[in-house]
Symmetry: C2
Subunit: 270 residues, 2 copies
């Protein structure tokens, strides 16, 4: 079995900084590569890193704040120029299609592939994609606008050599939770995942601002990881107020020691 890999393309929050771009990740799990969120510049970072855009199977957008979706139009344009013919499936809030269709119609008049939007309902936990190796379900989050995370799990068909019985045991599981307040009732869904990405926009000193903007602090992200007994926690979506990411890391480790930082242009195996 191949390890799953997560590539961090952007790990900043709403305001880009000298060190952080808006959100975007690529998860390679089972036999596919999925994009998770697509802030401005994500496709540029992919090209700079030499990641083949043709590898992208589909795209999952957590919510429609600009730092999570403003890079989509550029990416879709590049895919067309690169000669994509395979349809691109985008899973997002229904409003995204209303916003993007007129832009696609104007800017990509002779598009050579189809963009298929799938409306997700951020309040419900539901399976939105499943094939022979990977299943994706939504994780209802709590933010200023409708928002959901995504739980990816890998499964491979196994046939018992004696009985001939087929089963689909789960292998790697990855959960993406951004953007959200601390939301304890998600813990059962996150229980025991191999890697949990949980936003930690603010360090502890900004707790009141965190509540106001409906984000999480380092301690809150780490508490989710601890209570859900996950394998590893990755934090990110760093506020531009704190330059030194080690402050985020040290705070989170106080609650959940096996925490790592999301670092842009880094690839993580799990």
């Amino acid at each position: 079995m191949q390890p799953a890999t997560l590539t961090i393309l952007g790990s900043g929050s709403a305001l880009p900084t000298w060190q952080n771009s808006p959100s975007g990740q690529i998860l390679t799990i089972g036999d596919k590569s999925f994009m998770i969120d697509c802030g401005e510049g994500i496709q540029l970072t992919m090209r700079q890193m030499g990641i083949k855009t043709a590898r992208l199977y589909s795209i999952f957008i957590s919510h429609l704040h600009g730092d999570h979706c403003f890079g989509l139009l550029g990416l879709l344009t590049t895919l067309d120029m690169m000669g994509r013919t395979q349809p691109m499936h985008i899973y997002a809030h229904a409003d995204l299609e209303k916003l993007l269709r007129p832009m696609l119609k104007y800017h990509l008049q002779d598009m050579k592939y189809e963009v298929i939007f799938h409306a997700v309902h951020p309040r419900k936990r539901e399976v939105i994609f499943s094939d022979h190796t990977v299943t994706v379900e939504t994780i209802p989050l709590k933010h200023k606008v409708p928002c959901c995370g995504f739980l990816f799990y890998e499964h491979h068909r196994q046939i018992d050599p004696v009985t001939g019985v087929m089963s689909y045991p789960m292998h790697k599981r990855y959960a993406y939770c951004s953007d959200t307040m601390y939301k304890e009732n998600n813990i059962p869904q996150l229980e025991g995942v191999d890697l949990l990405f949980h936003e930690a926009t603010f360090t502890q000193q900004w707790e009141s601002r965190c509540k106001l903007t409906m984000h999480s602090t380092t301690h809150q992200a780490a508490t989710m990881a601890q209570k859900a007994k996950v394998g590893q926690l990755m934090i990110g979506h760093y506020s531009s107020r704190e330059d030194d990411h080690n402050v985020f890391l040290e705070e989170a480790k106080e609650v959940f020691p096996n925490t790592i930082l999301a670092v842009e242009r880094q690839q993580y195996e799990f």
Copy 2:
């Protein structure tokens, strides 16, 4: 008198590469800073370079291909988060307002500053902005979609100490020509400018592809510079087909020796 400065934020063409982002420049002339084109990622590069977004006075968009305007929405969002209250004037083809208004309405519901669109008519040479130090006029270009360049010229009021007569002699002049085919009838307008940016998307070996896509070759850009007797030529908008930018430079210099390359994240005084 202060020198004018030109900052190159993006100098690639439609397809981003490991070394080039889509088009974007900042021209500081007279007492103002203007943005010229705004491809995806331009605001990220500004933030990485520590350029204050608050300094931007207005924005000029040559045409509505994505590599010249997909960064606008993100930039306008950041300006709002940074607390801008001064209106932002955008000079572009009328369609830009139709495309961007619904996005601004959705993504920036409580915007604290006004965005004022000014429709430019790419086929006419006309003055579209003028104040006490700078005048901007359009340069009609020839491309696959309506497109115009911009000529910026600085002027300062002078009062003759003897006669008391006021005059407005011109100082620095900068011309931006991208994207365009070779268009000889623009030469009178470009005559003697201090710095001419002219696209040179293709090296000479791609001449037939150049004609098809309505761009210019290195020799064509340099011929414009030579015939218009400009002070210096800067080329850019490099095709992703040629990795080594020195090939562009050497070819252009064969025709017009005082040519330089547009290099991203570099600032040029003139």
